[in-house]
């Protein structure tokens, strides 16, 4: 295993909502002479950034799915990458997510590499040391590939949102209800209009979105509004 850089100079911040993962990493890294800390995401993104400010910037191990904050909202790790980078942290994504485009989003924000959470534990520790020493952790081509995936997906999102822009506000509302699993009859009652009116609106939505069925329209909407 690589020798630890001078202890205390650069901190390792583990941002993970999972107590066991965070604790075992913190303990292992500390046992190897690194100043490891746990940045608990339960206080939300602001809480993580506040925790990071307490230590000299070093390496942040960031999970992308950070559970839910105290208010019950899911905490996303991707928006944390840029502020951490700005504060001088090097960011290593440590995620069990199989969503490569999402990992690509984190990499595009400036994270240096992705470590799969299911990697053998010694491999995780080695990667932390490599990152601290400035050695590459992830092949460049693979990193580019992930970022490309992310770009392609955000392009798709933009295109889908563009199509949604063509709808009138009322058509958008109707589509939102349909995408949420409501039947046309329920939508009609919700807006106090006739079923025929709603169906006319749905037909208009299908034409404007250039899709053939209500099924596709609802799926498109859900895809477009998902993060």
């Amino acid at each position: 295993m690589a020798a630890a850089p001078e202890p205390g100079t650069s901190a390792v911040l583990i941002v993970d909502d999972h107590e066991l993962v965070a604790t075992s990493l913190v303990l292992s890294l500390r046992s190897q002479g690194l100043a490891a800390h746990h940045g608990d995401p339960r206080a939300g993104a602001a809480g993580v950034l506040a925790a990071s400010a307490e230590h000299p910037p070093g390496l942040a191990l960031l999970d992308l799915d950070l559970g839910r904050d105290d208010a019950g909202r899911p905490v996303d790790g991707v928006p944390l990458v840029a502020p951490l980078r700005a504060a001088g942290w090097q960011v290593l994504i440590l995620s069990g997510s199989a969503d490569h485009a999402r990992i690509g989003a984190g990499l595009a924000e400036g994270a240096v590499a992705w470590l799969p959470k299911n990697a053998p534990f010694p491999a995780l520790l080695t990667a932390v040391h490599d990152a601290l020493a400035g050695r590459p952790v992830m092949p460049r081509a693979r990193r580019e590939q992930f970022i490309e995936l992310h770009r392609r997906r955000s392009g798709e999102h933009k295109e889908l949102r563009g199509r949604l822009e063509r709808l009138t506000p009322r058509e958008r509302e109707v589509l939102a209800l349909l995408a949420n699993g409501q039947r046309a009859q329920v939508v009609a009652e919700h807006f106090v209009v006739s079923l025929a009116t709603v169906r006319t609106q749905i037909r208009a939505v299908l034409t404007k979105l250039e899709v053939g069925s209500q099924l596709e329209a609802a799926a498109l909407y859900r895809k477009a509004v998902r993060r």
Partner: protein
């Protein structure tokens, strides 16, 4: 709202009914009076007008027949198809013959016309209650038979013998009564079902009967000049056409409503699937986190104890965690077959269990090595050991492994009650389980599939002396009897 709509519909129905009947009656009276009056007859060229009206009636009738077929298909109503058959026969045989004066027809021709007319009548009457056994095609079969009969009558060598049938009023009265009866039947059916379209179909047929009645009542010698009859007939057929068009429209509406409904069902199903997928992904994420955390802690715990027993348990726990991770990743699909020593795999599993209640004895022929994925063997033996615990709690377990020809045979034997008699193969099926002992019934089924994928087999049977269950796993043996290492059992993760 629904109740109100229903009440409104109920109130509107008699009103609409009255309007329909009055309009049709007024139309008929006006037509008869107008075209019957001497002034109009003097002003119009009677012959061509009559032919024009007949032609138009034939065209309208043909259109109505087509609509009837479409309506029958759309609504799944055989009745409309029988009506279509009647209309076709009426328009192709009965209607053209009226352009010729009866006096110019020989008895054979008149008899043929009568047969066709009667067949159309039968078709209409049956259409009121079409026999289910004949379905939508029965009408066409009857029509073909009727048409054939009519042609047959024409070809009779002595048509004069039929004159008793066509002479006199009997046939005319029978046709008239039959037609009126069928028409009233249709109107009554429309009334009963409160269906405007079906009521109009009945009204149209009644107008046709009225036209016939007018013709008989007028009893003019020169039939070809009977303008009111031709006009009334056209009106009747036009009303039938309107009624059938309405039926088609109803059918289309229904079809579209069904489509909407199905789309909604599909959308709901898709949403459910999507949500289930999200839930599964969330659960996967949690499980991954848990496994990663456990792997990390296991690594930390006792890494420096120096106790070989501890080290072995630690390795076994890590291997197990790695295997669970691999399952989550769906990595069990296929890996390159690899030679591995059987002994370390089984030793790891057994030492994991030694701490629990049931004692496990392990005998492995030295150097036994298999070809495939050691994780599969580990999983299957784990499943079998768990199975022993469930069905034979506390019983002694023996695990043996040896090479037999090109195969490695691993046996897991307990001293429990054995398998239920006659169910030796059934226990390997998906979902078969012992209610009293719990379990999901998937373990053995999946185990067998896993082994089969490796090119092996899993069999269970009851053995005696001492009684118990014997599970036999056969997997391909390594080509080289002594591979370099057997360290694959210690693999940590699928990264």
């Amino acid at each position: 709202v629904t109740a109100l709509a229903f009440a409104l519909r109920g109130a509107r129905w008699p009103y609409r009914l009255a309007v329909d009947v009055l309009v049709v009656a007024a139309l008929c009276v006006v037509t008869a009076v107008l075209l019957g009056s001497a002034a109009v007859r003097a002003a119009l060229p009677v012959g061509p007008t009559h032919q024009l009206l007949t032609l138009a009636a034939a065209a309208v009738g043909a259109g109505a027949a087509i609509l009837a077929v479409v309506a029958s298909r759309l609504l799944g109503e055989p009745r409309a198809s029988w009506v279509a058959a009647a209309l076709v026969l009426y328009c192709t045989v009965v209607l053209p013959s009226t352009t010729v004066a009866p006096s110019e027809l020989d008895p054979g021709q008149r008899a043929a016309r009568l047969v066709a007319y009667l067949t159309a009548l039968v078709l209409l009457a049956v259409a009121l209650r079409p026999p289910a056994a004949l379905g939508a095609w029965g009408g066409w079969a009857v029509m073909a038979v009727g048409g054939g009969l009519a042609v047959g009558v024409l070809a009779l060598p002595d048509p004069a013998a039929l004159s008793w049938l066509v002479e006199g009023p009997v046939a005319t009265v029978a046709v008239l009564l039959g037609w009126t009866g069928a028409a009233v039947g249709f109107a009554a059916e429309g009334l009963r079902r409160q269906s405007t379209a079906r009521l109009r179909l009945g009204l149209g047929l009644i107008v046709l009967a009225a036209a016939q009645l007018y013709r008989v009542a007028a009893a003019e010698p020169a039939t070809t000049n009977d303008l009111p009859f031709a006009a009334l007939r056209l009106e009747g057929l036009a009303i039938v056409l309107v009624a059938l068009a309405q039926l088609v429209r109803t059918g289309l509406h229904q079809l579209r409503a069904d489509q909407w409904y199905q789309q909604e069902e599909l959308a709901a199903a898709a949403l459910h699937m999507e949500r289930a997928g999200e839930l599964a992904a969330e659960r996967d994420h949690e499980l991954r986190n848990g496994l990663a955390g456990l792997a990390g802690i296991t690594h930390l715990l006792g890494s420096d104890s120096g106790d070989p027993e501890h080290a072995r348990i630690r390795r076994a726990v890590l291997a197990e965690l790695g295997r669970l991770h691999a399952i989550l990743d769906g990595a069990d699909a296929h890996r390159d077959a690899q030679d591995y020593l059987v002994e370390p795999v089984l030793t790891g599993l057994v030492s994991l269990r030694r701490r629990s209640a049931a004692p496990v004895a392990l005998h492995v022929e030295p150097g036994t090595s298999a070809c495939g994925d050691s994780a599969v063997l580990a999983q299957v033996v784990t499943n079998l050991l768990a199975n022993c615990d469930r069905h034979a709690p506390g019983a002694g377990i023996t695990v043996t492994a040896r090479r037999r020809g090109g195969e490695v045979v691993v046996e897991v034997r307990d001293t429990g009650p054995g398998l239920p008699p006659g169910r030796e193969d059934a226990v390997l099926e998906r979902g078969v389980r012992d209610e009293s002992a719990g379990g999901t019934g998937l373990g053995l089924h999946i185990s067998r599939q896993l082994v089969a994928r490796e090119g092996g087999d899993l069999r269970l049977r009851t053995v005696e002396a001492p009684r118990g269950c014997l599970a036999t796993i056969t997997i391909p043996a390594a080509a080289d009897p002594d591979p370099r290492g057997g360290r694959s059992a210690e693999r940590v993760g699928g990264a």
